[in-house]
Amino acid sequence: MAEEKKAGLFEKGGKLYWLHSTIDAFDTFLRVPGTVTAKGAHVRDAIDLKRVMIMVVVALVPAALFGMYNVGYQTALATGASWGFWKMFFYGLLKVLPLYIVSYLVGLGIEFASSQIRGEEVNEGYLVTGFLIPLIVPVDVPLWMLALAVAFAVIFGKEVFGGTGMNIWNPALLTRAFLFFSYPSSMSGSDVWVHIPKDMAPTDAFTGATPLAIAGDGGVGALDAAGYSFMDLFWGLIPGSVGETSVIAILIGAVIILWSGVASWKIMLSSIAGALLVGWFGQLAGSGIPAYYHLVMGGFLFGTVFMATDPVTSAQTETGKWIYGFLVGALAVVVRLWNPGYAEGMMLAILLMNTFAPLIDHCVVSASISRRAKKMKTA
């Protein structure tokens, strides 16, 4: 009885109808809707978008947990503090948690409001976006900047196009791009990647520079001199954005989303191929960085696995995915090697290819149509 009354309140004509999208969102979050099929196939697969999105979040958990530990580890390393494993982890957790709170509060708030305006159900796309954003920013990014960036990305990157599924650019990367171009001093350089508490001073040996920046300046020799071996980069106890550093944690996530079929292995593989090819050319041209180093430095792998494969903003045709992925990888390394302004090229490469993904698909589909037309003529 009480439930009926509550339902009436939020139904059309009810006093609180303006809140119905929000109520529906929580309601369907807790209980699968009792909707039955009305048209078409009478039975449906158990899969829904909530499940698809939660698989990506699960895949991101190893990178997030490692990122939290690494935040504490880098602080301890920089200040010479002798902390244990759990102390490092909880220190990082406390640093990263506010990023999550801001990301979800601002993002979901806007998402709920715009669903309400459109009168639609709240889409679960932001579950993933909100989880990604704290992992691709430096730990020291001011929270108000993050809030502003999230608001920009969600409103102008997604809602104006009609919400999840309609957007052109990956919203998480738009957040990062907004920060990067609006507040470059908080997003690049050597001072943002490692959190140094006010009451502690860094040791003399501390530089704060990311391996990517070091390699960009002096090649693999400079990396060795700074004490970063290939395996250090692989394990990921290095300065960088929160979730991007550990290759091993990202690979665990990659296995999860590839196995569950949420992400395309074609995009991942071709992106890696593109990076290796351009990296190899770069090496021939005297970049001083072996091609395979590009795979483990900076945000390349994180972007390849979690951002380039976004099913909405990537190419949708299977052939298109090969082309799209290859160009993402290739462009990222081109920016890294031949653009003195930016140490990292992955964000720009993916956003640029997001823009061109529909064009790639258009070409693939047109080619297929003319092939079909020829086949039909001769058939």
Partner: protein, 448 residues
């Protein structure tokens, strides 16, 4: 065998309730319904009034555009009621069955010696013309059209579909005569697709005068539309006809005996059916006379992917040889999507763990398992569509009502049934068949 078609893409939906290979009873119903709504494109003209006497094979309806196409009663009896819906739309003609069945005699003939005109005439008069479906668009065949070929899929891969080698057992001679008669209607021959998995013991493999193709693969490999797209895709301006083996046999029987006999084995299937098996009956039989009555159960005429909700007070359709019973899934599952395991539900996606139990059959219901969303994951459509088309682009063209693009993306080659699995696998819960169907309706309207 002349041709082999091996299809890699597709999906067999593992649902419980396959019919056991036995006929539990034969039902000559007290009332049958002749439903003009069974035939796409038919504008019916009523030829009888309440109280008229009819024989099995007597005309009841005609097509207004093609008055030669007649629709006949499957039984002899008295017209009991003309059922109309909104705006007096004709929904059904109910015929009360006589205790003794009399049939119109169309004259027994030898299939080989028939001419094209004779075959056409016989089909039009007997009411079997309606069994011919014309592509593109899946409408009733136009008697004045020249089809480039006629296609018959001898088997169905749809969920819980009846096994044609069982339902048509003993009718091999009729099927052969039916094929022979059909060859007269086209210069392009009759293409017969057989299931490679059961080829050795299938009577269809032994048919003469047809061009035989062996097909293997998961559903929709048995869909005639998928087979056509691999044998001889439909170009703009071309027409093909298709017909199900059930009616090939009926045509053969009509030719050889001169009588219309639509008695067929209907599979009563589905997880909600107590004892899934076959019942022998006539099209138009009341569902109530064929199955037990259950509460909270959906009665589907046809299979779970493409069937029509006929309800327990409804009547078996002209084309239907399956009634599938599934529970209405109105119950709300707590935290459904978030549970790591939901072993009682099937998913073709590896986001759940049904891949761990590949042989398991599921007690499925009609729950949507989620809310409608914009398209996000679209590769799943390609994985279940073994045709040379891009399903998502065709779907979007239909949504946009863009005739030019629909043409380019292959609207001539598909019927909603060929993309039925897209309905099933879509995580965004769109009604793909409905979208395609509306696209086809638009094509018919614009191209007429």
């Amino acid at each position: 065998m002349s041709n082999n078609i091996d299809l890699k893409k597709g999906l067999d939906i593992p649902i419980k309730g396959a019919a056991a290979q036995k006929v539990v009873r034969t039902v000559i119903p007290e009332v049958v319904a002749i439903k003009p709504t069974d035939f796409k494109g038919l504008i019916p003209r009523l030829l009888v009034k309440e109280g008229d006497k009819v024989l099995a094979g007597s005309p009841v309806l005609a097509d207004k555009q093609n008055p030669d196409i007649l629709f006949t009663s499957p039984v002899s009896g008295t017209v009991k009621e003309i059922v109309r819906g909104d705006k007096r739309k004709l929904l059904a003609v109910l015929v009360e069955t006589d205790s003794e069945q009399k049939k119109v005699d169309f004259g027994a003939k030898d299939a080989d010696s028939l001419t094209k005109e004779e075959v056409k005439d016989l089909l039009l008069k007997s009411g079997l013309w309606g069994a011919l479906i014309q592509r593109p668009y899946g409408v009733m065949a136009d008697p004045s059209a020249e089809p480039k070929a006629i296609f018959v899929s001898s088997f169905s891969t749809a969920p819980l579909a009846p096994d044609t080698d069982f339902t048509l057992a003993g009718k091999a001679e009729y099927i052969q005569a039916g094929i022979t008669a059909l060859t007269k209607l086209t210069d392009g021959g009759v293409h017969l697709c057989i299931n490679k998995a059961t080829e050795a013991k299938s009577m269809f493999a032994k048919m003469d005068k047809a061009i035989i193709h062996g097909v293997s693969g998961k559903h929709p490999a048995g869909n005639v539309g998928v087979q056509i797209s691999h044998i001889s895709p439909i170009r703009k301006g071309e027409i093909v006809w298709t017909i199900s083996p059930l009616f090939v046999a009926a045509i053969g029987q009509l030719v050889q005996t001169g009588k219309l006999d639509l008695l067929r084995k209907v599979a009563i299937t589905g997880p909600a059916a107590d004892d899934p098996a076959y019942v022998e009956t006539l099209p138009g039989a009341p569902v109530k006379s064929l199955t037990a009555s259950y509460e909270g159960v959906r009665y589907i005429g046809g299979d779970i992917l493409t069937g029509e909700i006929i309800g327990k007070d409804g009547y078996l359709g002209f084309f239907q040889d399956q009634i599938c019973l599934i529970s209405e899934g109105t119950e709300r599952e707590i935290l459904g999507w978030a549970k790591p395991f939901r072993m009682n539900l099937h998913s073709s996606s590896k986001c759940y763990f049904s891949w761990l139990a590949p042989k398991k059959l599921y007690d499925m219901n009609t729950n949507l398992h989620g809310g409608p969303r914009a398209f996000v994951e679209t590769k799943c459509f390609e994985d279940v569509t073994p045709m040379d088309i891009f399903p998502i682009y065709l779907i979007k063209a239909c949504l946009a009502g863009d005739i030019d693009k629909m043409e380019k993306y292959g609207i001539y080659e598909v019927l909603p049934e060929d993309l039925a699995l897209c309905d099933y696998v879509d995580p965004s819960k769109n009604d793909i068949q409905d979208i395609i169907s509306k696209g086809i309706d638009l094509m018919i309207k614009e191209m007429a």
